[in-house]
Symmetry: C2
Subunit: 155 residues, 2 copies
């Protein structure tokens, strides 16, 4: 896992971090996944300042992660729903939950668990190799140049 010789500009990770890599946005996403849709609801649950919440919602909508749709007229009221793109963020949130549960949990165990609808298992999903299906950790993987990689001069 050593290859200091890659260009990292425009790294996929960096791009994602730019969009969802702050505490406030993650809190909003958590509530969205938990079913919150309305401004007031999101504000109560996250505890964010209203202007910050408004700002984050606008940015999430702008990035196509949430969709702002009117759910009533007179007075106009809007709600924010996860798009497909937003739903794809699920593995990241699961990752955060799993790590927190393992390393930062209070004594009483996690506040929230998740259940696999089809088989009923109550446990957080794990990473597995899509080729062989075996569970994997960082140690089992190594980084290699991707199709878009640009090698950098080493000297």
């Amino acid at each position: 896992m050593v290859w200091e010789t890659f260009e990292r500009d425009n790294c996929a990770l960096e791009a994602t971090a730019e969009i969802v890599g702050d505490r406030q946005t993650l809190l909003v996403l958590r509530e969205s996944f938990l079913g919150a849709r309305r401004f007031g609801e999101l504000q109560r649950q996250t505890g964010l300042a209203r202007n910050i919440l408004a700002d984050r919602l606008q940015s999430l909508v702008g990035n196509g992660i949430l969709e702002r749709r009117r759910y009533q007229e007179r007075p106009e009221r809007f709600e924010y729903r996860l798009t497909e793109k937003g739903i794809d963020l699920y593995p990241i949130l699961i990752g955060l939950m799993e790590w927190g549960a393992k390393h930062e949990a209070g004594g009483e165990g996690p506040l929230v668990s998740v259940r696999h609808k089809t088989c009923g298992t109550v446990a957080l999903p794990r990473l597995a190799c899509p080729g062989c299906g075996e569970p994997v950790t960082a140690r089992d993987m190594e980084a290699v140049p991707g199709p878009g990689a640009v090698l950098r001069e080493t000297a």
Copy 2:
């Protein structure tokens, strides 16, 4: 996936977001996973201001994610290595990479790929149910109260 009736204080996700949920910390972690260990190296690759990097490294060390160890005396020089706790953050970074590759990628494909050492598959790991082994997405899972859950009055 609707249950606005949970207490979320001290949520595992929130705790984790507090620690690694900012762009700068994520960049440092990315480089750590790519093998960078020294201050100057981390500074160059992340492009962070030196004071910010110093601050993040201190916080990561304080949270037990990186370990600061002297690798030479006279003059004293230190390097930062991932601990076990830090290595456990891998699924989160994979999640960020995967999402970015799918939704924010440039035309040329990802800059970096990962390879499963034992079977050789070059692909990002996917989430799977630890019970039945089936790949899962957000739609396949539902939230349920965990062992530490505290139900809230619905009023």
